[in-house]
């Protein structure tokens, strides 16, 4: 990796192209369409029709929603702390979009790695930036200067702090097995030697691979559940629990500011799905080592590169549908149950899982 001090114009242009291509042309439309997908899937689950008027099957509904949000009156209540009130929606949106910088969304295209920043501390970067998104929510509740938003934001921040620990601990077994913190090389390893959750080809098709799949599966369960709590999705959406807190921390927000909270939540959901796919489901790689490049530096034919990008986003979309599906299948947790689950169960299980992985690694050298 070239040191940051030696940035030249060509690499700057390539990075800019990647950022615009990934964030503005892929993630942002995905955010808009996951809102649409949520409404359509929930309608299907509840035997309703859902938004199907604007465009074919309602496909233009996100544009109509966006237009509606922009045209609505942007009302700032008189009792809020103005500066922070304006800052909060941006602070929830920015971290979610920043974290996608380290996600490898494809192998190579035109000889360029398909990741914005190929850091050696990928998962740590994601956790660090994602932990900043709590400030947006805390600020929103505090700046609103009213009771329900404040309850919502206090709930949200204590929930995020609790589940961040389980989230961080849950991936340690995976990192111990691969000995790698670079997400690009992690995916390459999985492409050749079997996905973390599907050790059916390459080196992992062995007793060691099968045995180590047990702690990885436990990790996956903890990780996925914690992602639900981190992104404030049902069954853990207590910060905006409508039946108790009106709308939680964004009660006092209207128009595009409200939409930013909404979009930030969906962006966090997409990045969380992307991280889960990258860590546990082989990222951009196809199953059984099909079309897998030999190493991270190997040349990749153009159509292989395109297939890899397609594979990554197909997996992410499946994961998002899973997110939506869970929302309409499970009832909301009670707050003490949520805290008990985080601190008493997941924290301990994740620690035990790390010890188990270490023992298994020592036995099957």
């Amino acid at each position: 990796m070239p040191p940051i001090a030696s940035i030249d114009l060509a690499s700057l242009a390539i990075s800019t192209a990647k950022i615009i291509g990934l964030v503005f042309l892929v993630i942002m439309p995905m955010v808009a369409y996951s809102v649409w997908a949520e409404r359509r899937v929930s309608a299907a689950i509840q035997d309703r029709v859902g938004p199907n008027r604007v465009g074919w099957a309602g496909l233009l509904q996100p544009m109509a929603d966006g237009l509606k949000f922009i045209l609505k009156e942007d009302f700032t209540p008189g009792h809020v702390r103005k500066g922070y009130y304006w800052l909060a929606p941006a602070l929830t949106m920015i971290p979610s979009l920043l974290t996608c910088a380290v996600l490898p969304f494809g192998s190579r295209l035109f000889g360029e790695k398909m990741v914005i920043a190929d850091l050696d501390v990928g998962p740590l970067f994601v956790f660090a930036i994602a932990s900043l998104s709590v400030y947006g929510i805390v600020l929103a509740g505090w700046a609103s200067n009213s009771k329900y938003p404040f309850f919502g934001s206090v709930r949200s921040s204590s929930q995020m702090i609790s589940y961040e620990i389980a989230l961080g601990l849950s991936i340690i077994p995976l990192l111990m097995i691969h000995g790698e913190l670079n997400l690009g090389r992690l995916v390459q390893e999985q492409a050749v030697n079997g996905w973390a959750l599907l050790p059916l080809w390459g080196e992992s098709l062995s007793l060691k691979g099968f045995v180590l799949a047990i702690p990885v599966f436990v990790s996956f369960l903890i990780f996925t559940t914690s992602i639900f709590a981190e992104t404030n999705r049902l069954p853990f959406d207590l910060p905006e629990c409508e039946t108790e807190l009106v709308a939680g921390y964004h009660t006092e927000y209207s128009s595009m500011k409200f939409a930013l909270f909404f979009l930030g939540e969906y962006a966090a959901m997409i990045i969380g799905s992307g991280l889960a796919v990258t860590l546990f489901l082989g990222g951009w790689s196809l199953p059984f080592g099909w079309l897998a490049p030999e190493s991270t530096t190997a040349e990749v034919p153009l159509w292989h590169g395109l297939v890899h990008i397609g594979a990554f986003f197909a997996k992410v979309i499946v994961f998002i549908v899973f997110f939506i599906w869970v929302r309409w299948c499970l009832p909301r947790f009670r707050y003490d149950q949520l805290m008990r689950l985080g601190w008493v169960w997941f924290f301990e299980i994740a620690l035990a899982n790390i010890a188990l992985t270490a023992i298994l690694l020592a036995i099957f050298k």
């Binding site: 940035i7 850091l119 740590l124 660090a128 930036i129 932990s131 921040s157």
Partner: protein, 168 residues
Amino acid sequence: MNFLFYLFAATALAGGIGVVINRNPVSSAFAMIVSFLGLAALFIQLDAYLVGILQILVYAGAIMVLFLFIIMLLDVPSEERRRLTFGALAAAAAVAGGFLLLLGSVLRKHGAGRAILEPLDLPADAPSDVHRIGDLLFSTYWFPIQIVGVLLLVATVGVVVLSKRELR
């Protein structure tokens, strides 16, 4: 990229000044987070990714959240109304002046700003800084790490004991 260095150094300094001059504790806490982010960017500019990320993860992401929590539950207006007294000003000036003197003498002694440090000459396939730090911590420094672990455990047990005592 000197320009980036000055940008992030200015961010860190502006955050630091903001901590001191803001009357509202929540604003101060936020200025502190800005300062941490500037520092993290400076570390990353030195290719010390792990240190930079840990700066955000531990300080900005965990410790400051707790700070904010406590501050928001306190009575903020009473803090804002508090007047400066001569004693407080004099004490602050004495502490700050003493620290500046100390810092200045140390920097002078080691020729800060004049000494040129050569960049480390590492092979292209050298392990990442995370690997190297991990190796050092669990080989050369394994004993201090154990001691720190025990210390943290003692602190945790102590907190549980102290917070449970009133219930009895």
